[in-house]
Point group: C4
Chain length 281, copies 4
């Protein structure tokens, strides 16, 4: 087990090469946000963009179009219930994030199915929130995990649903055993998040705190992982995930020195400055 330190940041967040364009920093597709949980996918998409992904498209309910454009006019939109447009966007993405605010009804299930069927191993797939719950309930989705090697970002209850390991019994050995079966990276969100990498190594977060215990925080983390993977694709994959997870909590820690609770939108606002300060001189 490796305890993450701030060194991880300047290994990943380096000065960009001068001659580069937005194509070099990846196309991200975020999929989620039904008419009840629209904020979740908006936060995730906003995090993607503030991290510096090249181009971001958000596939969500049309009910969320205006709030999305108002909060991040930099994002493009497609209605997530247009199968044709969703497949087209999936085909064009480098990184796909599915789950924030997606819900768990029949429509959500259909969308998740389309994502899993059309994603390919060469793309980077992050599965978050209600998408994890649906996979836990539909074991026919498990083979997709083994083929696509996604990153899963469950909190402890979602991990229990997926792994059948009760929260009280979750430990690194049991978690690793199940995670290795899934052939997926698992970012297990809890007081001091643990990351189980596909090679069996474990990264342990020792920062972050209870001021982060508020709705939307996980959606923002998932967006940051997507944004980091999109632009740092030439770097070590596991380190990129570690860096995103570390950055998310490090920003929260910083904000918590002046705010009692840290809201997701506070974190998003600070991403660009934090990343600048993280570049090795």
């Amino acid at each position: 087990m490796h305890v993450l330190s701030k060194n991880i940041l300047n290994q990943i967040i380096t000065t960009r090469p001068s001659e580069s364009h937005k194509g070099n920093y990846g196309r991200v597709l975020t999929v989620g946000g039904n008419s009840q949980f629209g904020g979740a996918i908006i936060l995730a998409t906003s995090a993607v963009i503030h991290c510096g992904a090249g181009l971001s498209t958000c596939a969500t309910s049309v009910d969320n179009l205006t709030a999305l454009h108002t909060i991040v006019p930099e994002a493009m939109f497609i209605p997530f219930d247009s199968e044709y447009k969703l497949i087209d966007a999936l085909t064009n993405a480098d990184v796909i994030l599915v789950g924030p605010g997606l819900g768990t009804n029949e429509d959500s299930l259909k969308i998740l199915q389309i994502v899993l069927q059309h994603a390919i191993p060469e793309q980077q797939l992050i599965i978050d929130g209600s998408a994890i719950t649906m996979i836990a309930e539909h074991h026919e989705f498990l083979p997709f995990l083994k083929e696509l090697h996604p990153i899963l970002t469950p909190h402890q209850m979602e991990w229990q649903r997926l792994s059948n390991i009760k929260i009280s019994e979750q430990d690194d050995i049991k978690n690793t055993l199940y995670q290795q079966k899934l052939q997926s990276t698992v970012v297990l969100k809890k007081y001091h998040t643990t990351i189980y990498h596909r090679d069996g190594s474990i990264s342990q977060l020792a920062i972050g705190g209870p001021y982060m215990a508020t709705g939307g925080m996980g959606d923002t983390l998932a967006g940051m992982i997507a944004g980091f993977l999109a632009q740092f694709k030439l770097k070590n994959y596991d380190y990129v995930v570690d860096a995103a997870v570390y950055a998310h909590s490090a920003i929260a820690d910083k904000i918590s020195t002046t705010k009692y609770v840290v809201l997701p939108t506070n974190i998003i606002t600070e991403i660009q400055s934090f990343m600048k300060l993280s570049v090795a001189p």
Copy 2:
């Protein structure tokens, strides 16, 4: 009668335990905002979230969905005219705030009725704004108060409607007598707000000022009470209400040193920093 001082703040606003998650900080349901008064419930919900409640859902007119998500993407949404969804959300809430911008027509009445019928004494219920007016006009609702022991947050005219005590005749003795019959906490909003607790004790606010005399201020207070109750549920209930009321005016006083009038959105922006400064060192 006890005059509130800033000591109330650091009794309630204490450092959070390290190992805690959003479930520890409560689920709040805010109910209100018809198509004419949407801003009221958005301000209330935004206040809830900035105070640090764990999870917040806003049951409002679908007309307010986009403005809600744009102002606080951290909030979840349900259409308040879906009886099924509203009951489901009521069942899952720890704290319920009903009234800001709810209106007083037939639809408003129906929604209030659903809230009162499905809330249980173990939940904390705050009744504000037009919901108070409707209760004053529909005495069949009074038994619910005696069962649910809510917090009522009337301004003086709403209190007159409910208690039949004319504004000019409202004093602590008359107010207490009626409030005790209601078996409810009463936060009587006026120049120097008075809080009548269920045990008969009275808390008197001596701060705040005329720069707060603007629309939406009461909605914001109601949201702060809800947000405080959600996360400080292990603390003395009466003190938590006192602390929320005190914090609301203390923030306004601070802002008024640089602004002629203090708007609700100004207060909301400062809640997180103010609470941080209020934690005992």
Copy 3:
């Protein structure tokens, strides 16, 4: 002719009496904003609220509901094409502002007619923008001016349409002659705005500048006049208008020291602080 100086500000903007509530600071109704020019009425309403009016309702196209609530959740909304609701709101208002973004088609005309028919001399009426153009084209409206003694806020072309005095021939004598016939206050917006009061006195603005030459600036001024009249209703009426006009340009002058152009939203953001600084010590 009296050249306005900053003394006008601390005559009007004084410390509020401690025991006062939002009812003391007036109810403002803003009417305008069709589906093409929604921004105009949103800016005006936002200015009203930032000045410190007690309660503000915006009667506008339903197309503008969400942008209004997002920009100023403190405002209430009514659909301006609901005759019943509009009349009800008119009856309850202390100050009425009609015109920003109202347009000049049949629907606009109908709305203006309702406003003029239901406003009463005891209310303060401000007529701006396209409402002035419509009055110029419909002389049957002129008797309403003589009865209601409104404030008109034309720019020079609108004044030409109304008065038939060509821009090149507009001077204080000709302007006063026509303005006296209208029995209205006229705020003639131009390089150094001139205010023609009903008693025949003339106030001349000597501040402001070309950085203010941008769309929405007049709407913001109209909103500030409404916001000042609402809360300073016990002060000398003419001085209140003078103070609002002076404050609008003084804020712009201040902002222009750091910005090449001053946008209406910049001004609105600074109103509260500016007014605080204007209170006599």
Copy 4:
């Protein structure tokens, strides 16, 4: 070839004459933003307004109305699929920007056609984004370029589509040869953007950097060119374009000292202050 230096700024951005009004600073019409790419035209329009254009109207999908008004209430709106309103707005504009987020389907094509048919050489026309792609695919549009002498703002792939010069073979000689045939100004966006003027002169940008490699950046540039042309119409046309392009990257460079990536909204926020600092003392 002329390398642009910051001297270009104070040649163009000069103190405005005192006696001027919004008519002096131009009417801009921005056309674009279908229901998928609404953010693009909102960013462009916001850039126009922050630069200081006198009056701005945005012709876009009605789906974008609310986000537009929320982000820039200073902008006016028309639905871009109303042929009558679009033609009317085209007739009244001094500067027209077409393309950001317009898309490339049949409806987009129709709108582009209307713009090209109704624009006149006395107006300044900027063609950006998908409008360039459509012109590349529809050679029947090329005669309009020769008549209207627009500014084209392609990135390298769009220029390849239009000119048939592969990206790897694009150099000043080949580019100039084709650009001269088009009788248009070409702002070729790339690492160090090059501007090909109609008189055959070439301006070379030597500032800007990879922190600008993010979606919406080009839309913002197009908006700034439009905003500069609108208000600086009495200045040398080529220099105005140069100044807008230079300012866009200079602002980004400044922001990049504190942010890892620079978002379009960051640039827009800084335009007014940057322009103020650029005025010769």
